[in-house]
């Protein structure tokens, strides 16, 4: 009799646990725990036992009944949860376009300028600024430009008065900074400049420049080369180098034209670099002693280097832009890309 009860219990537990869904479970419940179920049948049989066996068997049957009930309920809960999880509820079209606030973008020219400034900040330079309208003294005279010299041709200056002009380079800032302090001077001067250039895909009358100036004891041409090499590598990776060749600027001596490995062809030569493998990006050199002496610096004690170049070309290389006019187009489809 005890064995039978145990067997019944095991069978019921197995049936409950194997029930795949609520319907099967209900069938199993009716079979084992129902009013005409097998447990009730077994209980009825107990009534037919001898009287001394009845209490023991009764309590055994009650225990089996509780155990079966417990397993049944546990399974019922499990199945209810599974069913709820499978209930479809609300469904949305996950492919409709997202609807978030827009994110604004930095202008690609200024983003490039920011990047360069970042590199020079890391080299201990600070950022100096000055007026966009300058006078003749700061623009040319203090920079050692001789009057009536062909060097002035390249400047193509806009004038706004007898002695006021739109700066054609940010170099006047160098003079203004040096007038205010003794060496060491370590600055970069970013900003908007103007030249009377005709607008086409690679020229514009408005452009941005970054110039640098370092004046201290023992500054060398080799330092200038090393500093700009850092800029090249930081901007365009270790395969990118600077090339220096002699050039002429009134405010530096020796002067150099600075080229960058053409990133389009990796220096092999292509249309962009006119087959040379190099792109001209800057002018540089050791600050002419006339400039330093004009400030009142001791030219035997202090030497310095200066460099400067336009940002447009670097930004065009950085982002693969082929027409300089896009920078001033105001086109949202362009500006939202960067």
């Amino acid at each position: 009799m005890e064995d039978k009860l145990e067997q019944l219990r095991d069978e019921a537990v197995a049936a409950f646990q194997n029930a795949k869904d609520e319907e099967q479970l209900e069938q199993a419940r009716v079979e084992y725990l129902g009013r005409h179920g097998r447990l009730r049948e077994a209980m009825t049989n107990i009534a037919n036992l001898p009287e001394e066996r009845r209490p023991i068997m009764g309590s055994l049957a009650n225990r089996a009944s509780r155990e079966m009930e417990q397993v049944y309920q546990q399974r019922q809960q499990e199945l209810a949860q599974q069913a709820a999880a499978q209930e479809p509820g609300e469904q949305i079209d996950v492919t409709l376009p997202g609807r978030a606030s827009r994110v604004g973008r930095r202008h690609p020219l200024l983003a490039t300028l920011d990047e360069m400034i970042e590199i020079f900040l890391g080299l201990g330079f600070t950022v100096a600024e000055g007026p966009e309208v300058e006078n003749y003294y700061y623009s040319f005279e203090a920079l050692n430009y001789p009057e009536f010299h062909p060097a002035m041709d390249e400047q193509m200056t806009f004038y706004v008065g007898d002695d006021a002009l739109l700066r054609s380079q940010t170099s006047p800032v160098q003079i203004r900074v040096m007038e205010q302090q003794q060496p060491p001077v370590r600055i970069v001067a970013p900003g908007r400049c103007f030249r009377r250039d005709t607008v086409d895909a690679t020229h514009c009358h408005t452009f941005y420049q970054l110039e640098g100036l370092l004046v201290d004891e023992g500054v060398t041409f080799a330092d200038l080369k090393g500093t700009l090499e850092v800029l090249a590598r930081e901007m365009f990776g270790p395969a990118c180098h600077m090339r220096f060749r002699p050039d002429f600027f009134p405010f530096t001596e020796p002067s150099a034209e600075v080229c960058l490995t053409c990133m389009i062809c990796g220096g092999e030569g292509c249309r962009v670099c006119s087959q040379t493998g190099w792109l001209e990006i800057m002018g540089a050199g050791m600050v002419d002693p006339n400039v330093l002496a004009g400030i009142g610096y001791d030219t035997e004690k202090y030497t310095g280097f200066a460099f400067g170049g336009g940002i447009e070309r670097l930004a065009m290389l950085r982002y693969g832009i082929d027409d300089i006019r896009l920078f001033y187009s105001g086109d949202m489809r362009f500006l939202a890309q960067f």
Partner: protein, 704 residues
């Protein structure tokens, strides 16, 4: 300058392949921009032409000899100078002002414009076509072949860099050459068949009848060499670079001669050039030298002596060269060097650009090779590389605007005064006081901008015409205004914003007022910008400005000062720029804003006890006297210390329900104490005080 490669070989001892030559020259400061194949028009000769770009300080490189000397120095090979010598030229008749020999007289009356004038008479020449070799060289150099005599003078210009001129001596009145300033309105027919009207600024070569040539620029037709010429007077002179440049710029006439004189020609080249020309003319046109040369020179042109400290040179370049190497480099360039503890350097007169020790340092660096100088990083870092507080604030302002979803725009700093008319800018506004360009590049960019708005409107118009309807742009830039008292005009940084269309990346199913830019969205951006910069207190006051909608425009105030304006673009302006109605714009003086801004805000403790909220709906007349900002101030005054905030949440007007000319406005009041939870009774007491205050003092009707 065109440098024919085969011709250059005449002056080089060693064979240098063309690729290497181009590299050497380019890396040695004479850029070879390209190499062109050249074939003579008759197909009988070919060469390769190096197209060089000469920096303005190196007039000496505007000659075959100069290029050859430089190439030889850079390649450490030898250079061949084509020296010619004639006793008549080696021993000229010389004087400071005026000299004569035979039928020829030369006088320098203008010793400022002309420093030296050498001349040589060659007689019995037979003018005719040039021989092939000369014609080919002219053609390779890009010079039109005229005749054997003229071609020989041009040959010498190319070879040596000394401009020469040949006169038909028969046509010079009295054989008398005088170099003087032109008279007022003096006329001269130049070889290019143009009449020039000259004046006292211009230096001319004249005979007693009048000007016969424009000094250093071009000869005149009246005295030119022709088929019938038999006596040729050769001019080899040295003119002042500034005088030549002035005349050349003023008349707009630039020639091979003026180009060279502007960049400085060796003043001691006049006689050697005469000798070379005489040799070539006699070779190609026959004839002989008639007399000794004349050499009128206003002064002597001595070489300079400079000293170079080798240690200084190394410390500037970061090199470790010995003095002997430096001396060798300089000698190769044609400098005389005496070695000692210092190098004593004699600078040849063809290098007027070398004036100081530092210039010698550059020469050493060029011959040594910039490529060979090491890379080092400057030492003893003494400053911290960091943006100043003002710079960081300005950068922050841009970030805040981008965080508001605006893209950065750049427009030109120049504009046209009529741009303000196009955007219906008020006539009497200070923005119409422009800084004018003396020499604008184009007729639509004639003045400096006084406001950023026309630039943004133009950008928006461009987008609208491209059917881009969602526009969100900002610009930070300089505006300019004249300042009479100051030497330089005033400059200010402004920030401007323009928006129209959808706020979100997509707006399907959203009601328009939630999805589209309007006045309040623009205002919210200004508030975000100011809040992000440390929250200078802003206020907004109704403004009339013809660029903006008459009822949707506000002046923006920071304390008592106006810092800008904002609003919805007026319908007629929107139409002019093809913009949809409802576009909004704003412009602020960023300098003023940043003056009050702070980078670091002070922390305010967050409240620890719960708040109590109450709503207050009132009906008031719909006019500026009952503007919400004033109602809020009144409520704040009435509500006392526990009021934390009061914000409007529902505004409407409905003539049927609340009567015409009235509006209903509902506020949410939040009360909080910082040391306990407020009890209902306290809040109710305050609310009833507020009710009576707004009814009695403000004249509002409280909706119950």
């Amino acid at each position: 300058m065109r440098i024919p490669y085969n011709w250059l070989q005449d002056y080089l001892q060693a064979d240098i392949e063309i690729e290497r030559l181009c590299h050497l020259l380019t890396m040695g400061g004479l850029e070879v921009e390209e190499v062109r194949d050249w074939t003579a028009t008759d197909g009988e000769a070919t060469d390769q032409i190096l197209m060089t770009a000469v920096t303005p300080n190196r007039g000496d490189l505007l000659s075959m000899i100069g290029v050859a000397r430089h190439a030889a120095a850079l390649s450490r090979t030898d250079f061949v100078d084509p020296v010619t010598s004639f006793p008549e030229i080696d021993n000229p008749v010389t004087d400071r002002e005026k000299a004569s020999i035979g039928p020829v007289t030369v006088e320098i009356a203008d010793s400022v414009g002309c420093l030296r004038y050498s001349a040589l008479l060659i007689e019995d020449v037979e003018v005719g076509p040039s021989p092939d070799w000369l014609r080919y060289r002219m053609e390779a150099a890009g010079i039109r072949s005229i005749n054997n005599v003229v071609d020989c003078t041009n040959y010498v210009v190319w070879e040596m860099g000394q401009p020469l001129h040949a006169f038909d001596f028969r046509l010079l009145k009295d054989g008398y050459i005088i170099v003087r300033r032109a008279e007022d309105e003096e006329k001269l027919l130049l070889l290019d068949d143009t009449w020039q009207t000259l004046g006292p600024e211009d230096v001319v070569i004249a005979d007693p009848m009048g000007a016969v040539a424009l000094a250093g620029i071009m000869g005149g037709t009246d005295t030119q060499v022709s088929e019938t010429t038999s006596r040729v007077l050769l001019e080899s002179a040295h003119f002042d670079p500034v005088a030549i440049r002035r005349t050349s710029l003023r008349l707009g006439v630039s020639t091979e001669a003026s180009y060279r004189f502007e960049r400085h020609v060796d003043p001691n080249l006049t006689l050697p050039a005469l000798a070379r020309a005489a040799e070539l003319i006699m070779m190609t046109a026959g004839g002989q030298i008639a007399h000794a040369a004349i050499d009128v020179k206003t002064r002597d042109f001595a070489t300079k002596s400079l000293q170079l400290r080798p240690a200084r040179c190394n410390s500037l370049l970061g090199t470790d060269l010995d003095a002997a190497a430096m001396a060798d480099f300089l000698r190769r360039l044609g400098f005389g060097v005496e070695e000692g503890e210092l190098l004593t350097v004699e600078v040849p007169t063809f290098r007027p650009d070398v004036e100081r020790e530092i210039d010698l340092v550059e020469e050493v660096a060029i011959v040594y090779g910039y490529e060979n100088i090491e890379l080092t990083v400057p030492g003893h870092l003494t400053c911290t590389g960091r943006l100043t507080e003002q710079q960081r604030l300005r950068r922050r302002a841009g970030e805040l605007l981008r965080e508001c979803g605006l893209c950065e725009n750049l427009s030109f700093s120049m504009m046209d005064p009529s741009d303000l008319d196009e955007c219906h800018w008020p006539q009497d506004d200070a923005c119409r006081d422009f800084l004018e360009l003396a020499n604008p590049a184009s007729s639509d960019l004639t003045v400096m901008r006084t406001t950023l708005l026309p630039g943004l409107l133009t950008a928006a118009a461009h987008n609208a015409r491209q059917r881009v309807s969602d526009i969100a742009l900002y610009e930070i830039g300089t505006v300019f205004f004249p300042q009479d008292e100051q030497s330089l005009p005033g400059e200010r940084q402004h920030v401007a914003v323009l928006m129209t269309g959808s706020l979100l990346t997509a707006d399907w199913n959203l009601p328009v007022e939630q999805a589209q830019v309007d006045f309040y969205y623009m205002k919210g951006i200004i508030e975000q910008l100011c809040g992000g910069l440390g929250g200078p207190e802003l206020s907004f006051v109704r403004q009339n400005h013809s660029t903006f909608h008459p009822g949707k425009c506000a002046q923006v105030l920071l304390g008592d000062e106006t810092i800008g304006l904002m609003g919805e673009i007026a319908a007629e302006v929107a139409e002019a720029y093809d913009l949809p109605d409802g576009a909004c714009a704003s412009e602020l003086n960023l300098d003023m804003l940043l003056e009050r801004a702070v980078l670091y805000t002070t922390h305010q403790p967050v409240a620890r006890f719960p708040a109590a909220e109450r709503d207050l709906a009132i009906i008031v007349p719909d006019n500026d006297e009952f503007a919400s900002a004033r109602l809020i101030e009144e409520i704040e005054q009435a509500a006392g210390e526990f009021l934390e905030s009061v914000t409007p949440f529902d505004v409407y007007s409905d003539p049927q329900q609340i009567g015409a000319g009235r509006k209903s406005i509902a506020f949410r009041l939040v009360f909080r104490a910082d040391d306990r939870t407020l009890i209902d009774a306290e809040v109710e007491a305050v609310m009833s005080a507020v009710h009576s205050y707004v009814e009695e003092e403000v004249g509002a009707e409280v909706r119950k």
